[in-house]
Amino acid sequence: MSKLFRLISWTQKGDANVHNLTPITALGADTPRIDTVAGVTCTEVSDLALASVAVRLGHEHAAAKSLKSLLNAEAPDVGKALLAQPYSAVWVGPDQWMVGADTASHELLADEVKTALGATASVTEQTDAWCCFDLMGDGIGGVMELLCNVNFRAMQSGDAARTSIHHLGCFVVCGDPHGFVRILGPRASAGSLHHAIVAAMHSAL
């Protein structure tokens, strides 16, 4: 038995042995990372379930109706986000949205959305494809100006845009132009995105 093999612990489940796996955040820790620089806080968000919706050709009207009843509101228009509970949504392209919810209560979000939309749209599980950081506090405008070419100071609550941050395709969702922005980026590059955000905070603040 190799040394590595002995380090892995197992649990008997029925007839099988399974690994004892510990859930980790996008940055690889047990708990979400929090960084604070001069009153601005960058918080890693690890409890966000995501599913993408792409409406199928010819089903635009039916899909919009089903999405409206799921979200309890019209699906957000071009460049907008629906900031609500239990479901939030971001417009990501023509007839395409990203739906979000709390992981704890909606771990199977993609199934829920697919059940609501049926054959009118293609729904894809996205939870483990993205990492998420919330920036909060006065001065986020300066940080966002350094990070990306979105005109953040012109954004209102509920505006959303996709842009490049540190050469990574990211969504920027404005919660409050004076104090809250949410950044979604590729999970495989969570460390790089986090580095870019914290470096911008140190530079701008």
């Binding site: 071009v78 460049g79 023509p94 845009a161 996709r162 842009t163 490049s164 395709g169």
Partner: protein
């Protein structure tokens, strides 16, 4: 260079990826096309000095394909359309 996206407004061309001549959207019908048709589709381009319809992909934005009419001499952009609208129009004609 700024591309005036039909949905998102003016966006820096750095957000886009260039593909080439918009005639790529008009693929020959595989049922009826001859070898010459496929050769023309795959290899022959007009390469005009002047207005040129071309495909751009908004990679750093909403991932739409656009048909951009750009003057290859001055870089002036005179028209920007959603490629899906153009394609649907082409499809309804066929």
């Amino acid at each position: 260079m700024i591309i005036n996206h039909p949905l998102l407004g003016p966006r820096d061309s750095a957000e886009f990826v260039y593909l080439g001549d918009a005639s790529l959207m008009e693929r020959p019908d595989p049922e009826t096309a001859s070898a010459e048709d496929w050769h023309a589709y795959a290899y022959l381009r007009d390469n005009p000095a002047g207005p040129h319809r071309e495909l751009w992909w908004h990679e750093g934005g909403d991932r739409s394909w656009l048909v951009v009419t750009r003057n290859t001499v001055t870089h002036e952009i005179t028209k920007v359309e959603m490629a899906r609208d153009v394609a649907r129009k082409l499809g309804s004609k066929a």
